[in-house]
Amino acid sequence: MSRLAWIAVVVGLATGCTSDHSLEYTLLSDPPESVLLSDDVIEIPAGVAVAARVVPIEDDERGSQRVRFAPQRVGIIGIENVADEDRAFVLWGMEPGQSDVDVSFDGERVLRIQAVVTEPRIGAE
């Protein structure tokens, strides 16, 4: 690597100029209660499920990488692929609580999202 390239890497790390990753969500279902899906937070009530198509975004470009979600705490939030759909996922609140969710593009961890599962709403009693 040339001296110039090394300087570029060092400057990039020092200034935080690394690749920018995010997710683009498109809801595929109409959840009975409000659900929040973003790059920073997933908020969903316990007992509620929602399906969304997820497109990886890298440096403002829609990518074709394989996206995977890995909740770090067991039993708080469930995230699995929709059957036979590589980019569609079902997310559901299992129990009230919080868990980090690691997001990887093609096996490389690029994002950490905080999942918040809220108390279930009690309907008309």
Partner: protein
Amino acid sequence: MQRRLPYLSFSALLAFATGCDLPLDGGSRGDLGAGSFNYDCVATGDAVCNRTGAVDANHTEIVLGISREVPLLVAVGGRFDLSFRPDGGSAAFVEPARRRGVSVQGGFSISDPGVHAFLARTRDGEVADFIHVEARRIAELEIWSEGVPISGVSLAVGERLTIAALPVDHQHTPLAGGSSWHWSNPQTGEVELEAAPGPFDGAAQLDDEVVIVGLAEGTTTVAVQRGDATAEIPIEVTPAEEVTP
């Protein structure tokens, strides 16, 4: 509150237009539209499987559904079963999104009120489809006979009358899910209770429907209990009607 009858109506129109047969076991489309969830009564006394006509079906089917549709509301503690029939692709088993608060022994029974998603999971763990059911506590037991709610019964000696108890929430909305019922009366000789005909007959004390048989002139009561909910109605037994030739 959403209703699923329009789906059936649309399906019926579609079937009529295309000449295709409707699936006999109907069910409710999942939120992803990948197949149908079917509801099954697995315990005694489920209003969904009321067959005697004591409760007006037009009143209950708005919420409880028809043709194995998944009811919008189930009673806390009511037992039921769900299965999933995919339009195509691999088979899937149904499991609750929340494990806590939902018993999975012999069907499903929800102990925590609120909305509960049920997921159809493939063998690979992927989600083929899902559907939501809301569980509410029983606020009251309504007593019905011959298609109308009643507050008392008058029958003649020798006459038989089928009555049913319908669990409802605070808004008087019917709730699905089976459970054991307990019917009783003071047994002072005016009436006796018999099992109502139906899929779970043979145990009058456990079903949501019961037949009252007038035995002797007088007044008495019949009470019914399901969990913490109870109801009681007065019974008047009148002299046997004379049959004129």
